[in-house]
Amino acid sequence: MDQILFLLFAGIAVLCGINLVLQSHPISSALSLVGVMGALALLYLQLGGEFIAAAQLIVYAGAIMVLFIFVIMLLNAGKERAVPRYLWVRWAGLPLLFAFIAAMAYIVQRILPPSGEVKFGAFTLGSAEAIGTRLFTTYLLPFEITSVLILIAIVGAIVLARKEIE
């Protein structure tokens, strides 16, 4: 059952990922990315990360991607222009990608012990309480620094996006 669910969600994620790369319209790509994020949220649930799954939905799919779609709609971004590519990119690109993935899969298979399987419900530290405790004790300093980072990002976004004063 676990394996079937994994294959289902992984299949969705990979198909949406391929769609992201192949579609020439940014809105299609953005929606494919939302699909990847949804599938990944479900995989996080399977791995016992309830809080991260919810955060993935709220922050990534619910806020960041809506912002992307908003900007795409605002700029009325059209289809990408087809550009002639170099010959070797057209012929060697896909095989190289496959070779890259195969090499990574091979290394992963060789390094990892075969017994390292993941069972649903075995991992219980992913609850909001456990994460919150860890976040506000061990990782308090990085957390505070992140808030400064966000402040900088807010100021930067406002400065960049404000109207030019002549």
Binding site: V59, I72, V108, I131, A153
Partner: protein, 107 residues
């Protein structure tokens, strides 16, 4: 490659999925011309890395991985805000989103 007959999912499957997604992100980053799509490919790569974090957190029985991926999400949010503001400014100045046409520093 023999798949052991267990009920759970082998950890390596998650890592391979992460590798595939990361590679797709790299491919999108290299091949797409639209700035927004390139940006989204970066987000895909970040997501792939997050999956690795969560999978290893499960394997090691610690939730540090969850916290790291939480930080990745927060940083991605900040990055999206600034990045999209930059894209808006570029579009305002050049009226294009093609990344090849934004190759000069002066307008």
């Amino acid at each position: 490659m023999s798949i052991p007959l267990v009920i759970g999912v082998p950890l390596s499957w998650y890592l391979i999925l992460s590798a595939i997604l990361f590679t797709l992100g790299v491919a999108g980053f290299l091949f797409r011309r639209n700035i927004i799509t390139v940006f989204m490919s970066i987000e895909l790569m970040l997501n792939a890395v997050n999956l690795t974090f969560i999978a290893f957190a499960n394997k090691l029985g610690q939730n540090d991985g969850h916290i790291f991926s939480f930080f990745v999400m927060v940083v991605a949010a900040a990055e999206a805000a600034v990045g999209l503001a930059i894209i808006l400014t570029i579009f305002k100045n050049r009226q294009t989103l093609e990344i090849d046409e934004v190759s000069t520093l002066k307008n």
